[in-house]
Symmetry: C2
Subunit: 375 residues, 2 copies
Amino acid sequence: MIPANSVGIVSKNTYSFGYPPDELLLESGRTLGPITVCYESYGKLNEQRTNAILITTGISADSHAAGYYSENDKYPGWWDPLIGPGKAFDTNKYFVICSNVIGGCAGSTGPSSIYPITGKPYGMLFPVITIKDMVRVQKKLIEHLGIQRLHTIAGGSMGGMQALEWARTFPEAVKSIIPVTCPSRSSPQEIAFSETGRQAIMADPNWNKGNYYTSKPPVFGLAIARMIGHITYLSEEKMNQKFGRKMTNRDVIPNEVDQQFEVESYLHYKGHTFVERFDANSYLFISRAIDLFDLWINNDLAQGLKSICAPSLFITMSSDWLFPPKDTLEMHNILLSQNKISQYLKIDSIHGHDGFLIETDKMTSPIKDFLAIIN
Amino acid sequence: MIPANSVGIVSKNTYSFGYPPDELLLESGRTLGPITVCYESYGKLNEQRTNAILITTGISADSHAAGYYSENDKYPGWWDPLIGPGKAFDTNKYFVICSNVIGGCAGSTGPSSIYPITGKPYGMLFPVITIKDMVRVQKKLIEHLGIQRLHTIAGGSMGGMQALEWARTFPEAVKSIIPVTCPSRSSPQEIAFSETGRQAIMADPNWNKGNYYTSKPPVFGLAIARMIGHITYLSEEKMNQKFGRKMTNRDVIPNEVDQQFEVESYLHYKGHTFVERFDANSYLFISRAIDLFDLWINNDLAQGLKSICAPSLFITMSSDWLFPPKDTLEMHNILLSQNKISQYLKIDSIHGHDGFLIETDKMTSPIKDFLAIIN
């Protein structure tokens, strides 16, 4: 039974562009084309085309941000509590769009797509992409939908990076941004975790230098990469509360190395379910895009933020240690010192980085109030 | 040229015991024997045999805690700045012993040792071992050396766990302990990182269920496990200072996924040099012993600490997030409330968990002063 405040039954759409000789020139200097971008939308675009909102995704999310695919669908989209009639992103007022990023594996062009030159999946022949490249693809989609200017762009984690990159790259097309649990650049610690995951994928013999689309994929490597990610998404406090030192076989010293604490069993589950829906090469390319994200110019954040003029609502989680609140607060303070409109909200949460998917109740009013002042 | 305040040229010794039918009964209920324990010693045991100090090791350290193996040896033992004439553990006064743990791969019995029943290396037939098992082996060594009571037991990380376990298991044999950067039990976050490393080892096809002693060992899996470990040993601040976002190829968007930030290159180096000196199966067994370490009884630390009567000097590093100071401080406070003698020192350090190997200058006076009051 679909709830009354849901956007209801939704479906995926695609838009393709960049056919030769009009391929997209990427930040790396290479080109990519044709490009398909997969997206969903909720609500109605008004006649003036001024009520559009873009939702941007994290590393593992797809364009299914809200609603259900069928009456029997068990779970709604990943930000459903925030998107729908009367919700934070109120579909009675706004036309809400969510698209997959390029490099991914959920419908938009990525390493598992066919490379026109070889007639086979790109694999490692896929070009290195950046957050800016993702955003430029989204801009093409928005133009295709006849939208000149977005009311806001909102997303968590890598989604927040996209919101910031939009504001920097296309200031005239962005009325406001809502970057959630998102830094001004990736830290060496984030890069280190990211690289360890990539090494795990590339060490899996089934990875086969990225050529596994007709053979067994590197599921063990990808599962390990996801396990590492999951540790960084949870706070230590949450782990203590959720798992503590509980074991599957209490008060017994395990006689085999593979007996488990509950936290291990949880990580195994998270790792091994992830591989059913995600492509290992996409993990390599998207995690790299995250590492490369950097708003700073000449090691100076103030200089980097000069081009960002859109009013911003920054949302952080108190226990997020992957992208700690203090880094986001720094952006907010610099924007204020540059006489920009910026709001900063730190949500008191034990959910760590994952809070951006969980603390939707606490985010609703601040987002509504912020959107109301944007025009 | 060997410095004047060095213990000089040293060599390894071994002691074997536990021959059938006198095998050691382990905490798991299984037995292990015969057992060889590899150790070094510095200074001279006095006639009353009252001046012995035991140094206990972390996950990757061996018994070479001080001195050099030859005149041309490039580096001294791992805690050399603390052990020698006039140093914190003053070899003019004390007889300092350091032994390998069982389960390891540096001379003491471990999974790469020959299993008498099969005539082949134990591999995964090696029994699960605990910190208490390690300590009971050390006790046999100490008895063999004719020592009834140790002046102190000092070690960092897993070495600190051994010091605490000694004080709990053999209170009559321990005059004092110095646990450094060490918790009262492993947290779920530590267990999670530990398990991800084990999964990386076991996912390496060369691991071959632990049977690789006559084939190519699982070097990729072990390197990844070590990389994960290294991230947890460094503080974020140290990473920022040491690496920041420096790249091997500055200001250029890498066109291949395997181009590197400096932090990645550092991790690769640390991972791939580790595999030259460490056995993957030992990593599985020793990391498991760390996970299983737990002083608490019925989820009550005060109850767990009741049996610890030896005066304690706890040393922590302010930026250690693997084993945070607050957990150690809790032990100190409970011991004080139980009218035990306890000192607590938090060293202001950016070196994270690794500080226990680096901040030796700041540890010297507190250790000297503490040892002077023990009798």
